[in-house]
């Protein structure tokens, strides 16, 4: 269980997050959505122990701010929004960076690569890969770090910051399915998302941020509604339903049409 209460973060003298409460349960995907600059990445960094924050945050009952790095590393892995690798490691070497003494050894790096659709890429230099391929290499690294979805310290957690932002539609589904399966097997997933359709399809709980505050948290039905989304994104958005795939969200191009 991830419980955060009153998370407040100031960066360079600016209040970026203001009293955000968030709960995430293992066994389901929890999505954080909201417009650019609403504080999603900041929240994920704070919960990863990267930023000085006020408020209380615990993961499986352990205080995030004061836990030693090795303990947190055995409990959760973090996929950042942007990662640069400063030396020309091979793909397999990058994935193996996730192997640590504390966690890991449960997932074979080659298998992890295969699961993100990169079988056969092991020996290629990481800098030679495309953006989406590089993103999936890091996903494999994060999977290798965590190993099984549940460990001796309880459920393990994936913190993913826009895991599908760089991916094509097929790999978006593949990666979201992977996260979903991880949760179904008992792990926890906290994912920052921009794609509301994927969110509706794969997440069970959604937190909506706007302007550094939590606007709503709850089930998909309660949070992803025409009115809350339109207000948060400042853009008319309509919920529709397709007979087979369920709900989908369509931005209404009202402003653009009015201009004509």
């Amino acid at each position: 269980m991830l419980v955060a209460e009153g998370i407040t973060v100031s960066l360079s003298g600016r209040r970026v997050l203001e009293g955000v409460d968030l709960t995430a349960r293992p066994g389901e995907v929890t999505a954080i959505v909201g417009p650019n600059g609403s504080g999603k990445t900041t929240l994920l960094k704070a919960l990863s122990g990267d930023l000085p924050m006020s408020g209380a945050a615990t993961l499986n009952g352990i205080a995030i701010a004061s836990a030693p790095v090795w303990q947190m590393a055995a409990l959760r892995a973090v996929l950042a929004q942007q990662i640069t690798v400063s030396f020309p490691f091979t793909v397999l070497e990058v994935v193996r960076l996730g192997l640590t003494a504390s966690a890991g050894r449960e997932t074979d790096p080659r298998q992890a690569l295969a699961r993100v659709g990169l079988a056969g890429y092991e020996a290629r230099p990481y800098p030679h890969l495309s953006g989406g391929e590089q993103a999936r290499v890091h996903l494999a690294r994060v999977l290798v770090q965590l190993g099984a979805p549940v460990g001796p310290g309880g459920p393990r957690w994936l913190f993913l910051d826009e895991p599908v932002a760089a991916l094509d539609i097929g790999h978006q589904l593949q990666v979201m399915q992977l996260a979903h399966d991880f949760a179904r097997a008992g792990g926890g997933v906290l994912a920052v998302m921009h794609d509301l359709n994927l969110t509706a399809r794969f997440a069970r709980s959604v937190a909506l941020l706007a302007g550094g505050r939590l606007v709503a948290q709850g089930g998909v039905d309660a949070v992803l509604r025409d009115d809350t989304l339109s207000a948060a994104y400042r853009c008319p958005i309509r919920l529709n339903c397709a007979p087979e795939s369920g709900r989908w969200y369509l931005p209404q191009m009202a402003g653009a049409l009015d201009a004509h």
Partner: protein, 350 residues
Amino acid sequence: MTVTLAAGQPEVDRRARGARATWALLVLLGFAALAALGSGASGVSLGAVLLGIWSGEGLDARTQLVLFEIRLPRLAVGMLVGAALAVSGALMQGLFRNPLADPGLVGVGAGSGLGAVVAIVLGGLLPFQTPWLVPVAAFAGGWCATLILYRVATRQGRTSVAMLLLAGIALAALAGAITGILIYLADDNELRDLTFWSMGSLAGSNWDKAVLGLPFILPVLLFAPLLGGGLNALSLGEAAARHIGHPVERIKLLSVLGVAAAVGAATAIAGGIGFVGIVVPHLLRLATGTDHTRLLPNAAILGAALLVGADTLARLVVAPAELPIGIITAILGAPVFLWILLRQAPLAEA
């Protein structure tokens, strides 16, 4: 015999290459050491030495003196200094996540150098004279530079690499300015010492210097590879390395202390020898990849071999006189440095 490796086993391949490289480098070091022992101004050849031992007649007194009091200590100092510089370079590059970082860049070398220059020029004012003054002052300078760097670049227990680099530039500039002033104060004798020293040389090597360097350099060589995994992870950035569970602050602190110890000792016993710390790790990365757990031990061996080889060249090129070894390493190293810069250019713009 050719070694065939199963396809799809690149990891095994790379590791095997790393291990093979270690053996190849040890052989190279052996040859470099034999060449160094067998050449010099006294004309005692390796053949004569080996023959003396082989025939059971033993070595005559002169050969013994040349071998045990001149060439062997010089070989020992050369190996220590070369290994220290190469390993420091690899540590710094891992720490700064930049293949161009070098102890010279963060001002550790400049600090050691300033200490030595102060000792050379102002040492005459002291009421007592001791040959230990220059080495000890270079030591002290290196440590001071590291302490200042740490004070400037560390905030709330976290080190900013950019601040470290900038502080290093400032320290180097300051050391250069003070050196400039001291040169005006120096007499002719001291000036010759200064030039020779600033170019670096193994000419004054003796067992005392080897003994002075050993306790500082050897632990760094032995323990640096233990930092390899952490330095690998650091290439993802400090936050990502921490997420994986690496004690980032401790890795950075130990790397900086290791570099200060090794570079301070190397500068103290051989002066400022440049480019070894850049060239050696770069060549190794081309040959066996980036993994620091392999890079660090291999760098120690290749650094030792390279410096011993360069020193042999320095003694042979203008025999019976000799060149400061720093000239040789600069001639070999500066073009490589520029070449790395050139290859990096597109990355830097991206």
